[in-house]
Subunit: 135 residues, 2 copies
């Protein structure tokens, strides 16, 4: 068993538009039909002014990039922290990135996980995973 | 503005079955089509033995209970930590709970967030939120 293909500083990112159909699907999955996500008239009266995506929907994109791209298939998710810094509006394109910041004992690693809309940092946290075995 | 309806020790919970249709929908949303979640034949050869739900899908249920039930509409999600302790198998019923553990300055509060399958604790973490204004 070897993890020599992984090293500190490696970074992957990808972009995804979060559309109203995504927000509706997530609302059903999370049982979260808060009108701030779904009802433009309601959202207009809130601090946000227009519908915002669920923070955990943006956070879920980290699951995808970690599990499918980097470190990729075989990764086991151990933990994730999420700080919701700014709203993601419905229709926004979000760029999520994961950067390997520390190799840990027993095949684990720590990643900085960030989401941006343009230059604006909207979500930041850290993930710890069990790396896939590169045998 | 008053938050006197909220006090430390208050706890809410709810249960939800996570079916294969939920896992497929989440896989599309998170761009995470890892076969450990979707392909029984593949999952049978992994440490899990059968398909497991995405950890972030279970974590997303915290968004729903916080935003819709307790503290309920008007809640603003500030942060969430998640430790994935044990697998949730596709078809399992998950009970998620949120307990107010600390009232913080400026209308914020900290919650213990847990998910269980039967007696088994599968996911644990903490959420910090801005409480809804109870005016």
């Amino acid at each position: 068993m070897s993890q020599t293909q992984f090293s500190v500083g490696q970074k992957h990112q990808r972009a995804r538009r979060i559309g109203p159909e995504d927000v509706r699907a997530f609302a059903d999955l999370a049982d979260d039909h808060n009108p701030v996500h779904l009802d433009p008239a309601f959202a207009a009266k809130t601090r946000f002014g227009r519908p915002v995506a669920h923070g955990m929907l943006t956070g879920s994109l980290f699951s995808g990039i970690l599990g499918m791209e980097f470190p990729g298939p075989g990764t086991v998710y151990l933990s994730q922290t999420l700080r919701f810094l700014a709203p993601v509006f419905v229709g926004d394109e979000v760029t999520v990135s994961v950067e390997l910041v520390e190799l840990l004992p027993k095949g684990r690693a720590r990643f900085l996980t960030q989401a941006r809309c343009g230059e604006r940092l909207v979500l930041e946290g850290e993930a710890e995973v069990l790396l896939p075995r590169l045998t």
